[in-house]
Symmetry: C2
Subunit: 235 residues, 2 copies
């Protein structure tokens, strides 16, 4: 049975890395002594080691040893043997490229679908949708495909940002960009604000955190969803 936490962001304003999620993570990973970390999105271009160290400090607080997947000679085996997964944020194009390059996209999806607990934040959440086509990230590298893990039957827009009425900037708002996606794609898109996450248990998908999320569907008006909403109806 799928068991995932899919979070908009790792870090809240004025917060520390993962701190707002820590009580959830303690439950989520309660049967894990180790968790496999996927640092491929590399925020700011830091090394895989640096990124793993940063995340490991937080996991140590809940007595879990975090191991970077890049330290394994056989990364497929590392995925198959993992007790839990955490895919950190950064650049989604980079993350997806590396998962394909190392031939890990399918095996990661299969393993998570069988029930190994998964945590994603930001880019690590983007890849839980059917495609990465509603990421906010810059295309700094060309991935072999935009298809992603498909752990949920729709797409995500993490770090969802409401339009700023005061802005004089003429670039597209997030809502406009998602509307452009829907001019050519029929998948629903969930705009997940910072502080929200999805709790996936089998086929049940629940919106968690204190905020509403904004659901965009092709040819429909956007809809605000309350926390606690069961999103399984998007199946």
């Amino acid at each position: 049975m799928k068991n995932c936490i899919i979070a908009s962001t790792s870090t809240l304003y004025n917060g520390e890395y993962l701190d707002y999620l820590l009580p959830e993570l303690q439950l989520h990973f309660k049967d894990c002594k180790t968790v496999l970390f996927i640092p491929f999105a590399r925020p700011g271009g830091i090394t895989h080691d640096e990124y793993t160290s940063k995340a490991a400090i937080v996991f140590a607080k809940i007595n879990i040893v975090l191991k970077g997947i890049h330290t394994f000679e056989n990364q497929k085996e590392a995925i198959q043997n993992a007790e839990g997964f955490f895919t950190g944020g950064g650049n989604t194009f980079l993350l997806v490229t590396q998962l394909y390059k190392n031939d890990l996209m399918n095996i990661l999806a299969e393993t998570v679908k069988k029930g190994t607990p998964y945590l994603g934040t930001s880019a690590g959440s983007n890849i839980c949708g059917l495609t990465m086509q509603t990421t906010n990230d810059m295309p700094i590298i060309y991935p072999p495909s935009f298809q992603t893990l498909g752990l949920i039957p729709f797409n995500l827009n993490p770090h969802y940002l409401d339009p700023d009425d005061q802005s004089k900037h003429m670039g597209e708002t997030r809502e406009t960009r998602i509307k452009e996606f829907h001019a050519f794609n029929s998948l629903p898109v969930l705009g997940l604000r910072e502080g929200s996450w999805l709790d996936v248990k089998g086929e049940k998908i629940t919106l968690r955190g204190n905020l509403q999320a904004r659901l965009f569907r092709q040819n429909q008006l956007p809809q605000e969803l309350e926390t606690g909403t069961d999103l399984s109806f998007l199946n």
Copy 2:
């Protein structure tokens, strides 16, 4: 001799479509009775016809007939015979995909390099760089390549946006995103604020408009450039 206007945006806050550029365009296209419009970026998913009509109204003010490339049976021939080009804004992934799908990327680059005057705004400017990898757009469609026209020897970030010190949003700033690009790519990137444009005459590239632009180079601190700066040193 190359002859291009490469603008950050088509429209300024409180302005009308292309109005701030109109005196420039009158000079730029002074020898043109017609200009070929490339509407493939389709902002908001509008039709090619709708987009062409919108732009044609502006060009009519300077006595130029704007013709949408989509109305030509032989689009390559339309490019070769054009007196001038205007590629409008919208989604860069869509624009680039369509240019490749119709096998027009190379012939457009060749024709502009021979001297046919070109105007790009936003997505239509993004494609003037060597790659589209510093676009702000959402990857709503998968292009066969990120390579673009290469009319200038660096990349652009149109609609460049300075970090907002007041923001509580934890998504990456534009500067952070460009820094991530530079973790994996060595091309310079020019952040072109709304109201700025590049004037390209042969190999001379001049920053125009009232604003500074922000130049990002790998392993160097960002640099503010004054309007009037000759950017040929980036060759």
